[in-house]
Symmetry: C2
Subunit: 305 residues, 2 copies
């Protein structure tokens, strides 16, 4: 096999009380990538989309990720890469993670699966470093594994696949830009111990609720008084959208990644569709353009087409 | 039925990364209490032990707990209470919680179970208030429910029974006193966000590990860089004891409650016995008297004898 095509899903990280550790994969939207093994030790990149991402492999997320992998392989071949991004860059639903993960999963198939999923995430962190300036795995891990994934530790990397019931997500992506540097700078450096305790109590309860399939407990546990109050100020209409989603029957939700996208989780596709309608109605009043996505929680992660 | 006898187990709270929310019940040691319904609206207390606890019902943990319950019942009867404490007061393994829980569970049986477990915990919090100055449920909840229990919130009370594999605990109780006020004052009021994130990542992983029965993950997740560094300074020999326990094959462990007891969790009774031997050998060098207990994690909580 010297050519392969994969789909790489969008992901939601920073799941409310799971800031910096908890994420999940969406069935849609996704990126589409085709990789060909070539006989030269170079990486060629083409984009079949209109996002204007760099095609210089040293400045492209898939490129630097593949470079990290080739450095580990140390054999005289390279890759020809054709990318059709379905996930808009800067949306807060793991666009750069999808680029990085699609590249490493596809390349690993061409290399007869010589690397483990954890090793693939390590390579892909080079891509996240390029995109956001930090080696974080909280979008990469759900993108590779699918489902709900907890990153217990980034160094050493420790990734836990969580049991969960069938769930559906609604994402509303306002067409505004939030700079990663700004979303980071706005976070408190220190938090009151009492607030931290409430947060970890909620996260522990949320993980238990996932494994029990208890959506009422999930709902009670989806609270964040540490990150959300700070970052939601960067997203016009945040409170109204969340209230509309909850009012329409969502289990819970919040900021996706560092925004600007917002997500809600629902127990059925019908509920998630109703939540999308309610969120859209509220958001159309802001005058800001937006997209919505309704999707199952994707159980598989990056998959070969 | 106008008389009943119950056993009320010791409990470990503040389970490493689960500070202020996670606890579990021990099969031993336990308190033994006998309650008789009497026709006068008073509470009489006798102690069949040598701990010198007050028998004035307004100054006794079981007494104030029963008073809280009688106030809610508002009927003209009372209780005659005979207590044989097996759990030494001030040991850090839920002695006051056992007193309060035994009283409410026994009384509720005599009242034909008119109260739910959550209501019993609400009454018992009056006892914890007397004993420690705060209405906390993190020993009460595992004492009532048994097993591993997460208190997501104290107000409103939200208690989650966690799935877990069979586990065993070793407790070493040094015969020193740590004042609750001192153990509280030594805690940081604020913590770095990055440390808080590591803690909730670990707690999320620990809850997942319990439900999966994955003792290796439990072991990796049993870390506490927030409370333990502060409070362990109050317990002579802490680091050496924990290292000895881990070296003897324990899954993990730390401070029980606010100390001075230390606990280790093991995957089998044989392992827990070996851990007890290793911890004892190390602790005997301190010259401080101590007791050790080896026990299964108790699945039932307070039980009628």
């Amino acid at each position: 096999m010297d050519q392969i095509r994969v789909h790489s899903p969008a992901t939601v990280s920073n799941v409310v009380c799971g800031f910096d550790c908890l994420g999940f994969a969406l069935s849609e939207p996704y990126d589409d990538i085709t990789l060909r093994l070539i006989d030269e030790p170079i990486i060629k990149i083409r984009h079949n989309d209109s996002y204007g991402l760099p095609t210089d492999p040293d400045k492209n997320v898939a490129g630097v990720t593949l470079r990290a992998m080739l450095d580990a392989v140390d054999e005289p071949f390279g890759f020809d890469v054709e990318i059709t991004k379905g996930i808009k860059p800067g949306s807060g639903i793991g666009s750069s993670a999808a680029s990085a993960c699609s590249a490493v999963v596809a390349a690993n198939e061409l290399l007869e699966r010589r690397f483990s999923k954890l090793e693939l995430i390590e390579f892909a962190m080079a891509g996240e470093m390029l995109a956001s300036g930090s080696r974080h795995a909280d979008n990469l891990a759900p993108c590779i594994y699918g489902g709900f994934v907890l990153v217990r530790s980034s160094q050493p990397l420790d990734v836990i696949e969580l049991d969960h019931p069938p769930l559906f997500a609604t994402v509303l992506h306002p067409q505004i830009e939030i700079k990663t540097s700004e979303a980071r700078a706005i976070l408190p450096r220190e938090v009151p111990l009492a607030a931290a305790v409430r947060n970890w109590s909620n996260l522990g309860a949320f993980v238990a609720a996932l494994s029990k399939g208890d959506t009422e407990l999930m709902s009670r546990a989806m609270r964040d008084e540490i990150v959300e109050p700070a970052r939601s100020s960067l997203i016009p209409g945040f409170d109204d959208v969340v209230q509309a989603g909850l009012g329409a029957g969502a289990v819970g939700g919040g900021i996706s990644g560092s925004g600007p996208s917002m997500f809600m989780i629902s127990a059925s596709r019908e509920a998630a569709d109703g939540v999308a309608a309610a969120m859209s109605e509220v958001y159309s009043r802001t005058g800001i353009e937006f997209n919505t996505y309704v999707s199952a929680i994707d159980p598989d992660g990056v998959r070969v087409v």
